[in-house]
C-alpha cells in the first residue's frame, strides 16, 4: 500500500480534510479540495482513511463499547426512555450527551438528576487531574502598527501560536519559534505555522534569523523548500512568485523538482511558480528591517506606557471608584497607594510577602507577584455599596490552587465579595447573601450564597500573558457578568432568593485569602501564582461598552 500519511500532506490539504470531517468546510474550500482529490492519489487515500476513522468513532459513539456506554444506559433508564435498540437511538441521544458531558465536567451522577449543566456551573466540583499540555510552539514577540484581516482574530503581543495560519493585513510582526528561530513578517502576509521547526510563507515578505541552536529550521515557499543552515535570510512571496535573499550564513533550497542548491551570503534567487530557480539581484525586494523594528517596538512600548499613564490619571478621577491600585511602590515602605482621587490614604494596601516585579511595561511599570503562599495585600475598606465592578490586569503563571484569589473579603460575611479563579480557568464572583443560613449546595459549609462562574477563560497556553479581567455584580439589574479583555464572556441572572442590595467589603485582601479574623482549624491557601499590576473597584455596575472602553484605553498596545 502506498503510504501517504496525513502529515505528509500540504498544510492546506490537512486543513481541508479536518474541516470536511467536521462538516465545517466552506463551499470554496470544498471545491478546491475536490479538484485536488481528482489529481492526487495520496490525498484521496488519506481522505478515505480520515473518513473511515471518523466513521469508526461514530460507530463507537452509537453502539459504544467504551465505558461511555454505561452512561448512556444509565441515563436512558433514569429518564424512562425506551430501551436501546437499533434505530431508536436518536431519541435519547441528547440526554446521553448531557450525561457524558456532566461526567467530563467532573460532576457526580446524583448531580445530574436535576439540572446537569446549571449545577455544573454553580457548584464547585473537583475536577480530574490530568497531565497538562501547553498548546502552541511559537509566540508573538513584537507587533508594530499591526492590522488584521477582518475575518481573523487580532493578535496581541505574547499570544501563543500553534499549527495555524497567521494573517497580517498591514504592519510588522515578529514571531519567535520555540526552536529559537525568529521571523519578522511584513504585512500583508499569510504564514502557515506547522511546527516549532517549520512554516510556510504563502504571501508576504519575511526575514528569518536562525541561531545555531535552530539550524535546520525549514521555510516553505509556494514551490520551494528552504532549509536554514544557521543564518539570516529573507523570502518574499507575491502572487505565487517567490524571491529569496541570503543576508548572512547559508541556506539550502530545493525548488520544484530541481536538485537541492546551496546559497551563500549575498546571493539572491528568483523562484517562479512554474519555472527554474534563477540567480537574481540583491535588493529586488525590501525585507522588513529587524534592527529598526526593535527600535520601533521600544518606542511604541514607550508611547503605550505614556498613554496608559494618562488613562490612569483619568480613571483615578472617576467618582464611582471605591479604590484604585496601580502597584507602584516605594522601596521605603510596604504600602501601595490607593490612587483614586481625592486621595484617601486610609484605603492604601499593606504588602505582605508579595514581591515587586515588572508589570506590563518592563522597567517602567511595576507589578506585585503573589507567588509565595503567604503573599497578599491587606486592605480595609469600610462603607456600604450598591454594586461592584472589579477590574484588573493580571498575568497568571499557573492556577495551582483549587481557588486562586483576585480580591477577597476576609470573613465572607453578609454582603462581602469573593472574586477568584477556579483551577479549571473559570472566573468566579460571589457575594455572601446571608451568612447565618446554611449553604443549600453544601451542608457543611455555612453561608447562603451563590457563585457565578464564567466558562473557563484561562488555560496553560496563556501562562505569562497579561489579561484584563472584569466582573460586575449588578443587583439593580439582577445580573452578574464576567469580561475578558473587554469582551463579555458570560452573564447570569441573580434570582430573587439570592438578591442582595447592600454590599460591603471591610477587611479584605488582594491576591490571597487568609481569613485572619476568623478562628478556623485550617487556613485556605488561595494565593494567585501570578502578577497583578492594576486593580480598580467601583461602586457601580459598568456597562459592556464601558468595560470595553476601559480595556481599550488601558491595554498594552494602541487602540
Amino acid at each position: 500500500m502506498k503510504s501517504t500519511r496525513f502529515e505528509d500532506l500540504p498544510l492546506e490539504e490537512q486543513d481541508w480534510i479536518d474541516a470536511y470531517v467536521d462538516g465545517t468546510i466552506t463551499e470554496e474550500a470544498f471545491s478546491k479540495l475536490q479538484e485536488r482529490l481528482l489529481r492526487s492519489p495520496g490525498l484521496r487515500s488519506v481522505m478515505r482513511r480520515s473518513l473511515s476513522l471518523r466513521h469508526e468513532l461514530q460507530n463507537l459513539g452509537a453502539t459504544g463499547d467504551t465505558s461511555a456506554d454505561s452512561w448512556l444506559h444509565a441515563a436512558s433508564e433514569q429518564d424512562n426512555v425506551i430501551s436501546v435498540t437499533g434505530t431508536t437511538f436518536t431519541r435519547w441521544l441528547p440526554i446521553a450527551a448531557a450525561a457524558g458531558l456532566a461526567f467530563l465536567l467532573g460532576l457526580t451522577f446524583t448531580g445530574l438528576r436535576t439540572h446537569p449543566i446549571e449545577e455544573a456551573r454553580l457548584t464547585p466540583v473537583p475536577t480530574e487531574t490530568e497531565e497538562h499540555i501547553a498548546e502552541g510552539f511559537a509566540v508573538v514577540k513584537n507587533l508594530i502598527d499591526a492590522e488584521w484581516p477582518e475575518q481573523s482574530d487580532p493578535r496581541q503581543q505574547g499570544d501563543t501560536l500553534g499549527a495555524e495560519v497567521f494573517r497580517l493585513k498591514r504592519g510588522l510582526a515578529e514571531i519567535q519559534f520555540f526552536c529559537g528561530a525568529s521571523m519578522t513578517v511584513q504585512g500583508p502576509a499569510e504564514i502557515a505555522l506547522r511546527s516549532a521547526w517549520e512554516a510556510t510563507c504563502r504571501e508576504g515578505a519575511v526575514r528569518v534569523q536562525v541561531p545555531p541552536a535552530a539550524r535546520g529550521f525549514k521555510l516553505h515557499g509556494p514551490s520551494t523548500e528552504i532549509v536554514d543552515l544557521g543564518t539570516e535570510f529573507g523570502l518574499s512571496v507575491r502572487d505565487g512568485k517567490a524571491h529569496v535573499e541570503v543576508f548572512d550564513g547559508e541556506i539550502e533550497f530545493r525548488h520544484l523538482s530541481e536538485a537541492a542548491r546551496l546559497a551563500k551570503r549575498g546571493s539572491a534567487w528568483g523562484l517562479p511558480a512554474n519555472g527554474h530557480a534563477t540567480p537574481s539581484d540583491l535588493g529586488e525586494v525590501i525585507f522588513p528591517d529587524v534592527r529598526n523594528f526593535t527600535l520601533q517596538a521600544r518606542a511604541q512600548r514607550h508611547t503605550d506606557f505614556e498613554l496608559w499613564q494618562s488613562h490612569r490619571d483619568a480613571l483615578a478621577r472617576d467618582p464611582r471608584l471605591i479604590a484604585y491600585y496601580t502597584f507602584e511602590r516605594d522601596d521605603a515602605n510596604d504600602l501601595i497607594a490607593n490612587v483614586a482621587q481625592p486621595r484617601n490614604p486610609e484605603f492604601d494596601g499593606a504588602v505582605v510577602l508579595a514581591e515587586t516585579t515588572d508589570g506590563r511595561w518592563p522597567g517602567r511599570k511595576q507589578a506585585l507577584e503573589f507567588r509565595r503562599p503567604g503573599s497578599r495585600v491587606r486592605v480595609r475598606i469600610p462603607g456600604e455599596f450598591s454594586a461592584f465592578t472589579f477590574m484588573c490586569w493580571a498575568r497568571i503563571d499557573s492556577l495551582d490552587r483549587r481557588y486562586n484569589a483576585l480580591f477577597m473579603g476576609d470573613g465572607y460575611e453578609t454582603g462581602e465579595p469573593h472574586w477568584q479563579i477556579r483551577d479549571d480557568g473559570s472566573l468566579m464572583l460571589s457575594v455572601m447573601v446571608d451568612d447565618t443560613r446554611p449553604n443549600p449546595f453544601k451542608a457543611d459549609d455555612a453561608g447562603f450564597h451563590r457563585v457565578y462562574f464564567s466558562p473557563p477563560i484561562w488555560d496553560r497556553s496563556m501562562a505569562g500573558q497579561w489579561m484584563h479581567l472584569t466582573s460586575v455584580f449588578d443587583p439593580a439589574n439582577r445580573q452578574v457578568s464576567h469580561f475578558v479583555n473587554g469582551r463579555r464572556v458570560s452573564r447570569m441572572e441573580i434570582v430573587d432568593e439570592y438578591l442582595i442590595k447592600s454590599l460591603r467589603i471591610g477587611n479584605g485582601e488582594i491576591g490571597n485569602w487568609g481569613q485572619p479574623f476568623r478562628e478556623s482549624p485550617w487556613f485556605a491557601i488561595r494565593n494567585l501564582n501570578g502578577r497583578i499590576d492594576e486593580l480598580a473597584i467601583l461602586n457601580a455596575a459598568l456597562s459592556d461598552d464601558e468595560v470595553g472602553a476601559l480595556h481599550s484605553r488601558s491595554r498594552a498596545g494602541r487602540h
Binding site: R5, L57, T66
Partner: protein, 184 residues
C-alpha cells in the same frame, strides 16, 4: 451469470447463507462506505440499500467465490447511485471524485480492517477523559456547537481540541498500519 446459480439450494438455505455472509462482512462494507460518504446516516442508508440489493441478486452469487469482492461491487454501485440522489447535499463528492474514491477504496478493504484493529490499541493508549470526549463528540446526532456551549467552551475551541485528538489517533493508526518511512 445464470451459470452461477445454485439450483439445488432451497430458499431457506439460500437465506441462511446470505445472512451468514452478510453478517460476517457487514462491518467491512460499512467501513468501505464510510470512507467515502459525508455522514454516518448516509452510511447507514447505503448499507441498508446494499443489503437489499445483495439479497435480490443473491442467486447470482457463487458460494465458492469471494463474497466480499462481489459485495464491494454492489456497494460501490449503491454509493454512486446514492451520490446522484444526494448530489445537492453540499458535502457530497462530485461524480468523478467519488468514482476514484470508490475504485481505490475497494482495494483497501483489508487495510481498513488493519486500521480498525490498530484503532483499538490507539484508543486504549488515550486517557479515559479523551476517549469519552471523542466518543461523545462523534455520537451521531450530537451537535458539536451545542456540546461546546454546554461545556462552556466556544465551538472553535472544541473543534480544535477534537482535531488534535483525531490527529493523534491518525498518527498512531498510521504508525501501526503503514510501512515505515525510508530513513532519509
Amino acid at each position: 451469470m445464470d451459470d452461477n446459480r445454485n439450483p439445488t439450494a432451497s430458499e431457506d438455505a439460500r437465506y441462511e447463507l446470505f445472512v451468514e455472509r452478510f453478517a460476517r462482512n457487514e462491518a467491512a462494507l460499512r467501513r468501505f462506505a464510510g470512507s467515502m460518504l459525508p455522514s454516518w446516516s448516509d452510511v447507514d442508508e447505503v448499507v441498508q440499500r446494499t443489503a437489499i440489493a445483495i439479497w435480490r441478486k443473491f442467486d447470482q452469487f457463487d458460494p465458492d467465490t469471494d463474497f466480499m469482492k462481489w459485495a464491494c461491487v454492489i456497494t460501490r454501485f449503491e454509493v454512486l447511485a446514492y451520490r446522484r440522489k444526494m448530489a445537492r447535499d453540499r458535502l457530497v463528492f462530485r461524480e468523478d471524485v467519488m468514482e476514484l474514491m470508490a475504485e481505490e477504496g475497494a482495494d483497501e478493504i483489508d487495510h481498513r480492517r488493519l486500521e480498525h484493529d490498530a484503532l483499538e490499541t490507539c484508543l486504549a493508549a488515550m486517557s479515559e477523559k479523551e476517549r469519552r470526549l471523542l466518543t461523545l463528540a462523534y455520537t451521531p446526532g450530537v451537535k458539536i456547537t451545542e456540546l461546546a456551549e454546554e461545556a462552556g467552551s466556544t465551538a472553535a475551541a472544541f473543534y480544535m481540541r477534537l482535531k488534535r485528538l483525531r490527529r493523534r489517533l491518525m498518527t498512531c493508526m498510521e504508525g501501526k498500519t503503514l510501512e515505515p518511512e525510508p530513513v532519509p
